[in-house]
Amino acid sequence: MIKEIALIIVSVVFVNNFVLAKFLGLCPFLGVSQKTSSAIGMGAAVTFVMTLSSAITWIVYNFVLLPGDANIIAKVFPSIRELGLIEVLKTISYILVIATLVQLVEMMLRKMVPALYESLGIYLPLITTNCAVLGVALLNTTDSPKHLGFLQATVQGFGAGIGFMVAMLLMSGIRERLALVNIPPSLRGVPIAFICTGLMALAFMGFSGMVQ
């Protein structure tokens, strides 16, 4: 059990890093990686939301969307038992879960941990449109190569968040150095950041094959 969880974490942090191998969450990755402190804040907030949203979307997927006896809605409307709602409601229900969750986290943090809320600032509401959050929810519930259990799905969400944070931290370190270097004027800013990301992705390809 512990071995399996460790494998999921290593796989999703290093081998299939969401930013560097799967191209998810690039907008905040480039937008917020100017300074190390904001990179850590954003990474922590995303990890938190990803873990919770993986857990909740797993429950929605298995008990509301999938056809079968476990479906709660089928108890009221029997015709849903065979078809399920998976084709038509998957995307909408996931994005609504994530949007509600982000709002909830924002309200809770403001009441309970005002200091953390202040330091995260505008990054919190932006998480709704972070495609890594929706991406991990969709990947958890595609059932390929196999159907994930509740714990595995949650751990995968947590690991993906950590992977995002690792990539952001490395990138912010690079960009703090880049600010001091003489770069050709046409490559300054975003283009050189992309090229650096490419080199980082090349380095992370060294992990491939370590875990399936």
């Binding site: 994005i95 495609c131 046409s186 283009p191 992705a201």
Partner: protein, 211 residues
């Protein structure tokens, strides 16, 4: 005059406000699906459909949406059209194309371009102008996807639309993997910046000469 304005709404999305090379929006799908031109075209088409339809609907109902809850309203409209496009693609396109686009079709929901146009154009303008705006930006994005994907496909697998470019060429497969995508986009952005800088320098010199 009105016709000229309409034309402008349409063409500004291709050059002046090109979503990928000028605004640098919608990066994630632009890199993930551009391993071949076919994928790039399919992705661009799907996103353009969603962009045009959601712009149209949001612009029709814009006076009924309160300002405070506009973002959730936009998301629901966009998500409905994304679900439609997903089902349509499953029905009419070959399964291997669907498999290679994978989760990036449902991820159109969180594509920044669509949200950006809903917020900054469709919420403030008439339906017809919004449709033109959506079509222009969608076309601009599709064209930039085609540019990236043709470079990556030619260099990375030595083919274009699945046809071999040259018999003796040995493909550099790193280009169709993750690092190649980042580097191609970085260099293309650099190239467009370089052209823009060159132009402004030229006009500066012309001004100096006239003086």
């Amino acid at each position: 005059m009105a016709e000229q304005n309409n034309l402008k709404e349409f063409t500004k999305g291709i050059f002046q406000y090109n979503p990928l090379f000028v605004l640098v929006l919608g990066i994630c799908p632009s890199l993930a699906v551009t391993t071949s031109v076919k994928n790039g075209l399919a992705m661009g088409g799907a996103a353009t459909f969603v962009l045009v339809c959601s712009n149209f609907i949001i612009s029709i109902v814009r006076s009924y949406i309160p300002r405070e809850i506009r973002i959730p309203c936009f998301i629901v409209v966009i998500a409905a059209f994304v679900t439609m496009v997903e089902l349509l693609m499953k029905a009419y396109l070959p399964p291997e194309l669907n498999a290679s686009l994978g989760i990036f079709i449902p991820l159109i929901v969180v594509n920044c371009i669509i949200m950006y146009r809903a917020e900054s154009f469709a919420y403030k303008n008439k339906p017809f102008a919004s449709v033109l705006d959506g079509a222009g930006l969608g076309l601009g994005w599709t064209l930039s996807l085609c540019l990236i994907s043709s470079i990556r496909e030619i260099v990375g697998s030595g083919t274009l639309f699945g046809l071999k470019v040259s018999e003796s060429y040995q493909p550099a497969s790193v280009m169709i993997m993750a690092p190649g995508a980042f580097i191609v986009l970085g260099l293309l952005l650099g190239f467009f910046n370089w052209r823009k800088l060159g132009k402004s320098e030229k006009s500066m010199k012309a001004v100096m000469k006239n003086d």
